[in-house]
Structures are given as C-alpha cells and as structure tokens.
Symmetry: C2
Subunit: 333 residues, 2 copies
C-alpha cells in the first residue's frame, strides 16, 4: 500500500500540472532558445518554485509584469537579471525595486516614465517600443531621444524591447512570420538609435519565428492553454480538476469548477471528449461525457495566465500521483 497523494483525492477545484508534459515543454524551448536567449515571463505562472526549474534549465534572466513579481523573484534569490517589462510611475514601487540588492531593469516609453525611474534610483532601463500592438511603447522614431534623456538622467540604457502580440491572431504561419519581421524591423530601427546589448521581445507564439531578438520573453509555453495549443511545439500540461456534483437525467452534468477558478477572457474551458455549456462562479455545466456524482473531470483552460492567478498553488502530478506542490506566490501587485 502506498500513502501517495492522488490527484483523484485532491480537494477541488485543483490546478494540476502534468509534470512529464511540463518537462517536455521546458526541454523543447531550451532547444529553441537556450540559456540567455530566453527570458522566461513569470506572469504566466507566478510561481518562484516553477521559475527555479527554468533557472535549473539554464535560463537565469526573468521577465515580470508587476512589481510584486519582481520583488518576489528577488526574495526567492532568482535575481540575477530581473526585468519589469512594463511601465510604472509608482514611486514607492520603483524605490522598492531600486532598493533591492539585485540588478533590476525597467521598461520606459515616455519622458514621465524615464524621469520616474531616475527619480526612484532605478539603475537600468529598456526603451519600450511600439511595434504594432496598441499598448505600451514609444514610437520607434522617438526611442533614440528617450534613450538620450535616460542616459542624461544617469540611467543605464541596456537596449530595447517591443512585443509583437498582435501577430498571435494570425493563423497562417508564414503570414505570422512576415508580421513578426515587420514588427522587428521597427524594433531594430529603434535599437540602432538606442544602442545597448539587448533586443527583447516575442512570446510563446513567436518562439520559432522571431530570429531578430537577442532574448525571447515567453511564459505560456511551460504549461500552455487551449488558445495556443496547436500553433506552437508545446503541449498542454495543465488542467483544472473538478468533482461532478450533479447529474441531470436529461443529459448534462455539473462539476465544481467555475469562472472563479478559470481565466475566462479567452472563453470557456475545454472538456476533452465533452462539451462545456457554460460556467457560473463555482460550477461548470457540460454534456457528452458519461459521469456520476463524485467522478472527476479535467478542464483545460483557455488562458493560462489568469487561470494560475486564481489559485494558491499548483499540484504537480505524474499520472495520478501528486509528486510536488508549487506555491503561486507572485500574485497581487
């Protein structure tokens, strides 16, 4: 008799990592982008224990979307080269990063964000360049001027970053590659004016296509989701396990995972071999799978990042056996 914890015994909803799939994803990405050519994006998984696995695989520079992620990674000692790939004008938060005994680089895209970084004692920046996604980033032809301003303010300008997230919507691979090239031409033009060693960009969807960046910012690849599945050489290694709590004789059933345990911005989760009707706060109604009350089902999230952010921890499993537990310790702001 084993006293192993089994996935089928976990309290639900449970966010479960398939360890063999996770390890294969890490190995595949390390083959495409070894060592410093990858800057894993911790926003996707928000766990320093998972990040440690990526450091063990040779990736020591990390990318964060929030200051809480930067500070948490530093606390965990994963602080060799932390990038806040996002703008902030919050003086207290910038100071908290500047006060770390670790090198932190922040993204800037305006006079105000350059000045806020300098005022708070931040040492290094990347000039964030708009390469086509309407989000942050300066105009490519303003990047040189911002770099000059930053250097005058005493900041080290390490280079540029630009995220081509708008290409993720392009299904055709060669069209997607062409759109990446167009974006990266803008980024390289800006880089020519800015200088520095770093050209940072990309994501899981462009891991194989973006040959222009010196480092790729990717996070989803580690565990994946149904939105990216089929477009990239990584596999879904995550699921929300739920318990069936009600079965209706007319042909549908209800399990105890709903929109509070699943990121819903990309739509409903997928139930393999079944059909999801809708999610409520703590319920999913589905059909097409023959189940009884007490049975387990495994839902595949449509969007990894916000799904993980709704959970305290990741259960790590090999088959039905739980082999590890990783805290989701980088939530909040």
């Amino acid at each position: 008799m084993s006293d192993a914890v089994l996935v089928s015994d976990l309290p639900t909803p449970a966010l479960v990592v398939d360890r063999p799939g996770f390890l294969r994803n890490v190995e595949r990405m390390t083959a495409i982008r070894p060592g410093p050519q990858l800057r894993p994006h911790v926003k996707a998984f928000k766990s320093t224990e998972l990040a440690q696995q990526l450091a063990d695989a040779g990736h020591h520079a990390f990318c964060c979307a929030t200051v809480a992620e930067v500070l948490g990674m530093a606390r965990a000692g994963l602080d060799q080269d932390l990038l806040l790939a996002n703008e902030t004008v919050d003086h207290h938060r910038l100071r908290a990063m500047a006060d770390l005994d670790a090198p932190v680089t922040v993204a800037v895209d305006s006079d105000t964000t350059v000045d806020a970084a300098a005022d708070a004692g931040i040492s290094a920046v990347l000039i964030d360049v708009n390469v086509g996604l309407p989000r942050c980033g300066c105009a490519p032809d303003d990047a040189g001027r911002l770099a000059d301003r930053a250097r005058r303010a005493g900041l080290e300008v390490r280079g540029v970053m630009g995220y081509e997230g708008h290409v993720n919507l392009i299904d055709d691979r060669s069209e997607r590659r062409a759109a990446v090239e167009t974006s990266m031409e803008k980024l390289l033009a800006a880089h020519a004016e800015v200088g520095g060693d770093v050209v940072s960009g990309g994501g899981t969807m462009t891991a194989e296509l973006n040959e222009w960046v010196t480092e790729l910012q990717a996070g989803t690849y580690v565990l994946m989701d149904t939105t990216f599945d089929g477009h990239v050489p990584f596999e879904i290694a995550i699921g929300v396990v739920a318990t069936v709590i009600s079965v209706d004789p007319s042909g549908y059933a209800v399990a105890d995972a709903g929109l509070k345990s699943l990121g819903m911005d990309h739509g409903d989760p997928t139930l393999p071999d079944g059909s999801v009707w809708f999610c409520s706060d703590e319920h999913v109604t589905f059909s097409g799978v023959d189940v009884s009350v007490g049975d387990r089902v495994r839902l595949l999230p449509a969007h990894l990042d916000p799904t993980v952010a709704k959970h305290d921890h990741l259960w790590v499993a090999d088959g039905d056996e739980v082999v590890d537990q990783w805290a989701v310790d980088l939530r909040g702001w």
Copy 2:
C-alpha cells in the same frame, strides 16, 4: 492639513467601494426584503467585514457558494444561519462544516449528496430543485422522495431552494416576471412534497419580482456591476482604479489594470465617457478620455463576483477619501 489616505494616492490597480452608494444599495434592498426575507449571498463580495454591515442592517442568515465561505463566516461569528447553497460530496469539507459550533444547512439534489451530508454529520439540508437553469437541482417531482430519504438518514429538511438565474437574460420586465412565476410554480410544487419552512431562491435581478420565496439569495446588489446596472433599483458602487502608464499620440492610452484584476466572463470593463479597446493581463487600452501619464481612471467591472475574488481587499471611499478597508477574506475553496 489632513493626513487622510486618498483614492488618488492608492497603489493600483485598486478595488474601491463607493461607500455612499453601497449604503444606499443596502437601504434599498432592506426596504424590499427586510430582515430574514433576505439571505445575502457572500459569494458576490467574499468579505466578512462587508457581511457584518449587512448583519447590522438586519440580515442574519447568509448564503455561501463554497465551504471556505461557510467556514470563514463562522470564524467571523456570522454564524446564526449559514447555508451552503451548493452541492458537495467532499467528506472532509462536509465534516468541517458539521464540526462547527453553528447551524449549517447544505443543499442536496441527489441520493449521493443526501448520503454524503448524512455520513458527515451535517444536521440540516434544503432540497435543491431545478427550476429551469441547467445547473444543480433535482427534478421537481423527485424532491419529495429525496426529502424522505434525507429524513430517514436523520437530516432535518428545512425546505427547498431553486435558482431562476436563466431569467436574468430576459430584458423585458413583465416577461422576466412571468418567467420567475413559472420557475417558482415548480419550486412551490416541490415544496408541497418536501415540507419545511424555507423556500429559498432568487437573486439581485429578481429582488422585486420574486414574491414566492420566503427568503431571497442576493449578493450583487451591494456593489453591482455593468451587467445588472439599469435592470434593478441599485447603483454601481464599485470600481477598479488604475493609473495611466502610457499615452499614444495617435489617440489611445494604457492604464495598469487588466484581466488579472477584473472578472472578464461578462466582457470588458466600462470606462465612463471612454471606450475600452481590450484588456491584457496587467493593461487596459482605451480611448476617448483625455489623460496624461500618471492620471487615474476608474473602470466599472462587467461582473462583480469574480472581480472581487481577484483582490485581497476592498478600499472603502467617500469621495476621494479612503474611510475603511475590508479584507476579501473568503477567497479560495
């Protein structure tokens, strides 16, 4: 000089309650459903400090969607009459509720859930009846049999519950009322077979329409969201305050609240006087409002419940002054 904390100084994204609006919502509901005629649903706000305000307004019976909510409410002493308005077959969780020094009632809708409640030592149940929403709930004509089974197993059967959530989609008020009546005829038919004092159901959208239940299960009314706004006599008293971090000269801007701080299952948040283009994890891109980097904007969530569940606490404000802070202490499962 005041040393008051101001909303405009809060770290962002910040979930902010408009206290005057909240108090008006509580007062309006108390006029419609005084005292025990309302069983506030804590899933909407997940805060025992907010729940205490409702107890102070005369509502002492509460409704929960998760066992974590039940246990948290009991820890806070708000344990006069707690209902888990949801099914579970988790023996450990049922035992944790049974072991409370407080009366807990749980919903059951099948032989399995009846037996699980009895086995764990739960003392009282409501028979959950399907009144038209394809989620939990037994067939109305099976309710009497389940009640008999529950009583034979030693459970007190307090009555029935049935949620007519499917009527929320009906815009026309008189059509919605007719649909509520159809649903409640099913619930009352079941109640005639089940017995007990309680007929529980409804929600914010049917607060004024459902004249058949002895107690209404409503939570959204306290703070509201854009989905329910305009359909019920309550006002939006919640917002996610964000800081503008980037302004593009072509006419859009970006603020630091995204899909990790907003419930997205009902769609994008609303920016009054502006237009939301899309949300990313930690960004919202919008246009139509003249802003500079560092300015604040206030986003109105499309769905209250999952928005609150993404935050640690609610800042309570009167105008720009922060007057209180309520922990969101009922998250998780």
